[in-house]
Symmetry: C2
Subunit: 184 residues, 2 copies
């Protein structure tokens, strides 16, 4: 995977939160096992969102998880995101762009989570939106194809089981590949 930017070139990169820096999928798997005693394997999730992959009797309960007050504050960090984002933040203009508007109770927990795990981010570099077409940046790193479709710059798809069939965007498997694209 070659570098996307020239030596010395500074670009603006917007970075999604859920599934890109925050492991909300892993938390869904944990909560589902806690509540229903079932472990969902990765192959059951291929091409589907979590709530589509579970038994239909469980769907409503699963859709409530992200509305729970402690959901966002309890998320693990996606591997290598802290280290690579810290280096990207030095080298480029980096914004966190999260579709928090769908879950108003998530605003403060998401903001606090960022302060805890990504303390180098200024509050000026955080955006909570609903529709990512409003983000003015050169690149958007996101796991949801619909967000990349709407975005005006170049979309980079962060690989996840649910987006495995998507072929329209440059795909990265993890933060080490993002480092290769944007760091010297």
């Amino acid at each position: 995977m070659g570098r996307l930017v020239k030596a010395g070139e500074r670009v603006r990169i917007a970075v999604d939160m859920d599934e890109v820096i925050a492991d909300s999928h892993g938390r869904h798997v944990e909560l589902y096992r806690r509540d229903f005693g079932v472990h969902l394997a990765e192959e059951q999730l291929l091409g589907r969102r979590f709530s589509e992959a579970v038994h239909e009797d469980h769907r409503l309960a699963v859709k409530q998880y992200a509305h729970e007050l402690d959901f966002f504050s309890s998320l693990s960090v996606i591997p290598d995101s802290q280290d690579v984002l810290a280096r990207l933040y030095e080298r480029h203009d980096v914004f966190i762009a999260s579709a928090a508007m769908e879950f108003p109770t998530s605003f403060v927990p998401k903001f606090e989570w960022l302060r805890e795990y990504f303390p180098f981010f200024s509050w000026e570099n955080v955006v909570f939106c609903g529709d990512k077409s409003i983000i003015a940046a050169d690149y958007l790193i996101d796991d949801i194809p619909r967000n990349l479709e709407r975005f005006g710059g170049e979309g980079i798809l962060f690989s996840a089981p649910h987006n495995r069939k998507e072929t329209r965007f440059r795909r990265v498997q993890g933060w080490a590949e993002i480092a290769e694209l944007f760091l010297d």
Copy 2:
């Protein structure tokens, strides 16, 4: 003031909250009178922010007002903004873009305030950011020149005593003038 858009042309307009649709200045005046018994006249505010216009012994207290939990939920609506925004929302792509990140306690009250006074806005059309250069839109209506400077589209200055000396942007005196610019 002529129309900015052609008949049938649909543009994207981002609209600031404080001083444009929410009267946070009026609430500052009220709270200052309550706490210090002083009424600040408009001429004392020309070219200055509220906290710069008050007696220096009061400055710290005044800067705390916007951090109070009920500050944003108690704001009055700027005249004509509900009616004109409802019509703009039908005719164009309209987003509310508020620099809420500076005051994390304001996220939920601001969001609830919007739901109460501008219920026609979808959550997808609301953005909380820190730096308005991240907003991708054709126009930004804002009272703060620094926000318009950073914005990539055309800035429209919503007139307020503190920005009276600013000459770099198209100035509107209120929502009736915004209707003239963008409605048929």
